[in-house]
């Protein structure tokens, strides 16, 4: 079986990125943009497909970062994913933004246990603890949640572990007080990257963990909004 062709993208942070797996390898782009994802996303996807000489209808699936993150950003991602998938009748693969951060730490630094935290404002973080599987894919050790930096649930940590995400730069002292100092390394500036979304999506595709366009929804974690 040839490698599946999957297009992955992320708009959940102040970065906008896309990655595409093809028989010729992975093509990817990433740009920093605090605003204006809607103006850049589709041109970025179009450029990437053009570079690989593929059409959307050549894809096997489409993956997107489903959150948590900026409410607006994750709805742009889900909305665009739904529109693309419905238009070409392809399945979707929603991927956690926190998982992407963890996968990125593995890709760049080889970290195998990652405590991820994204600033959720209102004195809280989106929190997820990830561990690498034998297949080289990050999986959550417990449910992701939105929580005060002083109350994040910490598993027993053995060996080297990393901290990653904007929560770690904003609430470093409070998270260190709770979890201890990351023994592997700290990457508070890490933003989600579509290359990592793609790695996770390829694994999910092989497991058959696909959803239809209408079931591809954002995951906010913060569900009290009034």
């Amino acid at each position: 079986m040839s490698d599946p062709r999957i297009l992955a993208f992320d708009t959940t942070s102040e970065a906008c990125s896309a990655a595409l797996s093809t028989a010729q390898g992975v093509f990817s782009r990433s740009e920093i943009m605090p605003r204006g994802h809607t103006r850049r996303l589709l041109p970025l996807l179009d450029e990437l497909l053009g570079q690989a000489a593929l059409q959307l209808s050549d894809l096997d699936a489409i993956a997107y970062c489903r959150g948590p993150g900026s409410f607006t950003g994750i709805r742009i991602a889900a909305g665009v994913a739904q529109g693309l998938a419905y238009g070409v009748n392809r399945p979707l693969i929603p991927v956690s933004t926190l998982a992407c951060l963890a996968q990125g730490v593995y890709r760049e630094q080889g970290g195998e246990v990652v405590l991820t935290a994204i600033d959720a404002r209102m004195d809280e973080v989106y929190w997820g603890v990830y561990q690498l599987t034998a297949q080289g894919i990050m999986v959550a050790m417990a449910d992701e949640l939105v929580v005060s930096p002083d109350a994040v649930p910490v598993p027993p940590l053995l060996g080297s572990w990393y901290g990653a995400g904007s929560g770690w730069s904003l609430y470093k002292e409070r998270l260190v007080a709770r979890c201890g100092k990351p023994t592997g390394g700290l990457d508070g500036g890490r933003l989600p990257d579509a290359r990592d979304c793609l790695s996770m999506a390829l694994a999910r595709y092989r497991e058959g963990a696909l959803v239809g366009a209408s079931d591809a929804l954002p995951v906010y974690l913060r569900n009290r909004v009034t």
Binding site: D46, L56, Q82, G87, S214
Partner: protein, 341 residues
């Protein structure tokens, strides 16, 4: 050309299919009113969350109801603004990406242009030029319309929109959100002679409106009353509604005289008000102007009007690039005519 229309500017999710030859093929609206009722008004984040859950299932249902295969679509139109930015973004993202996936053009539509063109879905449609009164929860304006995209603003509300005033006064009267239609019902039991509310800005020249003072006037009336019983609620509702309708009537009459227009289009949620329609029927008799309304279900937010406005512009060759965006504030006169074919 067959056009898919998408509306998500506030708290209604709408999808419709309009065909250049066959006309309106199907339309669906999902109202979120129940989600917002307990908060007494639209909560933007809740609206955005509802849209992303409901839009695609509604779109799928509408395409099936119109017997339209995805590949038979010739374009996608969506409301680009004005409205709630987060809510608009959901429709824009899905619409633009769907059009890209289908390899067809997409176009962002001005919500108020869609409202003022809505009566063109009826028989007989108004011919250009006409005068338009747009009255909704977000806008109150009088517009001179020479053609598609040729809009001159003659006057607008300087504060609350007429529909907004209806909803706020309804709240003062203890009615649930959205209170406009409930206020209209309550006013039926009201004594028209017990209170007389002012007709704001009718004693001076010009076509602007101001409705926020009526809210204060209502509050003072209720405070001045001995008790807050059903009769005073009904009488107040009646006096308030009469004042708003009379003001709209007087400004329309003035605008017709000023412009010499022979046709008046009335659209937006408040145009569903029966008493307003009765009063404007008098204006038609005395002025000789003919009045055009959308059907009742297209007075409030819907996608049929977006699909229609989109069809007009898309079939003239107008379309957006792959970069999409929303425009939460967007003055109507900034619109231009579609390119000549």
């Amino acid at each position: 050309m067959r056009v898919l229309g998408i509306e998500t500017s506030c708290d209604e999710t709408g999808v419709a299919v309009y065909d250049g030859q066959a006309g309106l093929l199907a339309h669906r609206v999902y109202s979120q009113a129940d989600s917002h009722a307990r908060y007494g008004g639209v909560v933007p984040e809740i609206a955005s969350r509802d849209h992303i859950r409901k839009l695609l299932p509604l779109l799928d249902e509408t395409l099936q109801a119109s017997a339209t295969e995805r590949l038979a679509l010739g374009g996608v139109a969506y409301t680009r603004g004005p409205g709630l930015a987060g809510a608009l973004l959901v429709g824009a993202a899905l619409a633009r990406s769907l059009a890209y996936a289908l390899g067809i053009p997409a176009l962002g539509i001005h919500h108020m242009e869609a409202h003022l063109l809505a009566p063109m879905l009826e028989e007989p449609p108004p011919r250009f030029p006409f005068l338009a009164l747009l009255v909704s929860g977000g806008h109150t304006m009088l517009v001179q319309v020479a053609g598609v995209g040729r809009y001159r603003l003659l006057g607008e509300s300087l504060d609350d929109a007429a529909g907004e005033a209806f909803d706020k006064v309804a709240k003062l009267l203890g009615l649930d959100y959205p209170g406009g239609p409930a206020l209209e019902q309550l006013a039926k039991q009201g004594d028209p002679d017990r209170f007389r509310f002012p007709r704001p800005m009718t004693n001076r020249p010009g076509l602007d409106f101001s409705f926020s003072g009526l809210k204060t006037y209502t509050l003072n009336t209720l405070r001045g009353a001995a008790e807050f019983d059903d009769q005073i609620r009904a009488d107040t509702a009646r006096a308030f509604q009469d004042a708003v309708i009379d003001t709209l009537y007087l400004k329309c009459r003035r605008a017709l005289r000023q412009t010499g227009a022979k046709r008046l289009v009335v659209a937006g949620g408040v145009s569903a008000n029966r008493k307003l329609r009765e009063r404007l029927a008098q204006l038609a008799r005395t002025s000789g102007a003919r009045i055009y309304y959308p059907r009742i279900e297209f007075c409030t937010d819907n996608a049929a009007m977006v699909a229609y406005a989109g069809w007009l512009r898309l079939s003239a060759g107008e379309h957006d690039s792959l970069a999409f965006d929303v425009t939460a504030r967007w003055p109507l006169p900034e619109l231009r005519e579609p390119p000549a074919r």
